[in-house]
Symmetry: C2
Subunit: 404 residues, 2 copies
């Protein structure tokens, strides 16, 4: 690929993603939906201007590990501990129900192969915390009781989702469902999840000392990106998806991360702030590339829109996605209105759902049609809740406030 062509393509991707994200935000919808649409428009579905070329794909991969790095950075383990049993119940049920329902639907109703069914189920598990937080903050509900339960549950959901992703990733490499492999992966991922943040934390302390002693500019961007790349590579080596490594590195560098070993490794908040400040522009530069790539790898022209299958499939998967999270919310044991509020807030799938769908697509397990249907379902689960939540709180908000 010629240098100037690469520059042009990258520029088109960044500008299109930005314009569509702004438009989405202006329409009160999450920017990620705009970035996805930018990719659909630029890709084979509409204009066919761009192809998902290898270089762009690699940049998108950097985008996704950096996105998970940021998610890790934002994860508050203390909050998790505080949110307690109710969050764990909502998370567990809100993870297991959509997964089981999605899997069952595909395998029993549509007769799809088990691996495909598992991927569809997996896509429905994760809750996009970013979108939920944004809406709750806009509604000034961020510190209410139901919001606390939702935030705790979303964090647990994310971790469960990433672990499930590791297992499905192993299946996708083997090309078949092998439960023995799954067990091995779970053990590895478990060890990785315990050791990687500790290791990353120790490395981060080293980086902090190096930063203090450094005689040249620009230590943080290069060293922190290297750290993320290293853990992504390490995750791959232990048989987990690369993004797991990004998440672990972010968790360790999080301002709120604490080690069970005690307070010996206390985080220097100046340094943590500096890391966030320096990493933010880099994360913001790379992540839109990933979502545009998801849109680019979607070919809506090859989907047979006349067949009833795609419509039925999308509608039923969407129903399962909605019902699964709603039913999960009931496990909190709250009053019906609070349950409804929790359920609605848990519906958005956003980024993590797209990552699942993309992994299934790039490993050849999901057909273009199933992939397209899943992306549509994810887009719907992400687009609708902000509106539904606003309408819900406008109507019932005062009664919820009274209830606590």
């Amino acid at each position: 690929m010629e240098v100037h062509t690469f520059f042009l393509h990258l520029m088109v991707i960044l500008i299109a993603a930005r314009c569509c994200a702004e438009l989405a935000a202006w329409l009160q919808t999450p920017p990620v939906v705009g970035e996805l649409c930018a990719g659909i428009v630029l890709g084979p579905s509409v204009l066919a201007w761009l192809q998902p070329e290898p270089v762009l794909r690699l940049l998108a991969e950097i985008g996704i590990i950096l996105l998970l790095f940021e998610a890790g950075l934002d994860t508050d383990i203390r909050q998790l501990a505080r949110a307690g049993v109710k969050s764990a119940l909502v998370a567990g049920a809100g993870f297991a129900l959509p997964f089981a329902l999605g899997w069952g639907l595909c395998e029993l109703v549509f007769g799809l192969p088990r691996l495909v069914s598992l991927f569809v189920g997996g896509t429905l598990t994760a809750t996009s915390i970013g979108i939920t937080i944004r809406v709750l903050t806009d509604l000034k509900r961020r510190h209410q009781r139901e919001a606390q339960i939702v935030l705790g549950a979303a964090v647990i959901d994310d971790i469960l989702g990433v672990v499930l992703l590791a297992v499905l990733y192993e299946f996708s490499i083997a090309g078949a469902v092998q439960w023995s492999n799954a067990g091995r992966v779970l053990v590895f991922v478990g060890i990785f999840f315990v050791l990687a943040p500790v290791m990353a934390k120790l490395l981060a302390l080293l980086v902090r000392h190096l930063h203090a002693a450094s005689r040249t500019k620009g230590l943080i961007p290069t060293v922190i990106v290297s750290l993320v790349l290293f853990f992504a590579w390490l995750a791959h080596e232990v048989g987990a998806p690369e993004m797991l490594g990004g998440f672990a590195a972010g968790l360790a560098l999080s301002r709120r991360f604490f080690l069970p070993l005690g307070v010996a490794f206390h985080t220097d908040s100046d340094f943590a702030e500096r890391v966030e400040q320096d990493m933010q522009p880099i994360v913001q530069l790379f992540t839109p590339i990933f979502f545009v790539m998801v849109g680019l790898s979607l070919d809506l022209t090859t989907v047979d829109w006349d067949s009833p299958f795609i419509w039925m499939f999308s509608a039923l998967v969407f129903a399962v996605a909605l019902a699964g999270k709603m039913a999960g919310a009931a496990f909190a044991g709250e009053r019906p209105l609070t349950t409804l509020a929790i359920g609605l807030a848990m519906v958005p799938r956003g980024e993590v759902g797209l990552i699942f769908a993309q992994l299934g697509r790039s490993s050849g397990i999901l057909s273009n049609e199933i992939h397209a249907a899943l992306v549509i379902v994810i887009a719907l689960t992400t687009l609708l809740p902000p509106f539904l939540m606003k309408a819900f709180y406008a109507r019932f908000g005062h009664r919820l406030s009274r209830g606590g």
Copy 2:
């Protein structure tokens, strides 16, 4: 290329560059020399761990346009106007003499083809302002008379160097010296240099307004990088090297840029600061990749170190590089000691010299041997002056201060 392999390679490049840069800084030498050495060690010359792969090459190209963007951002046009005639004379002579001497040496003494000779001459023209500023600041000489002349001259040198690069680039594409092409390129580059900063400035004003109106995070990194990519692509389209576009974009966004049209476009210094703050980590992430790539594309094992040619050639080119800048300094018409101080400060070639050499190599004009010799000469011109300047000021500094 597999994703995890790419992650590993990128990590090795970033970490090696950082370690060597720190080591270089600790040894009181410019970090860029360390990054170059990291590439030489990782590449075919020593360990042969890494190849200059296409993806890494494209990332290095982003690094170089961002580096020139930063150089443009740091260019102070007002200072240039203030530095006046003396700077212009030093710059003109310090540009023309090494170019003519280098060209003559290669063509007349070594009998090399004209295109090769022109590239060698071109490599010797630019002054690395970064290294000079750093040393003068360390010596607390930044605001002395001779420092002002040097800084003005280095800025003019940079612009002349970039224009010459555009002409040589055209020759390298044509594969031959065609003066008619050179004329056309000069006209295009002239127009580009006048229009691009004005256009970029208008776009920057647009970005500033968008930034104020934006509803989503991360506008600056994506839009400013897009702007740089766009001007790099545009520069290519008018027949100039991509990095010229990066330089023009930086010039326009510079806090000190002013338009001849008047003060109507006054720069919002908050916005300019925000741009610098957000772009710095991105520039710092990408630029080391370029210098490591220069080291990677150097194969010192294929150089015939037993032939007297390489030694003779390096020694004479180095002599020319030194003498040309020293003789250029004489045009300032200062006392001998001040002339010597100016001459020494003008010697470092650093980044721009490496860009010339790399362009000559990648377009197949410079053989591996000549390229290696040039890189060695550039490294020497960059390594020695800091020591020489320190020794010089320790011995003669008090007499210079008296002189003004």
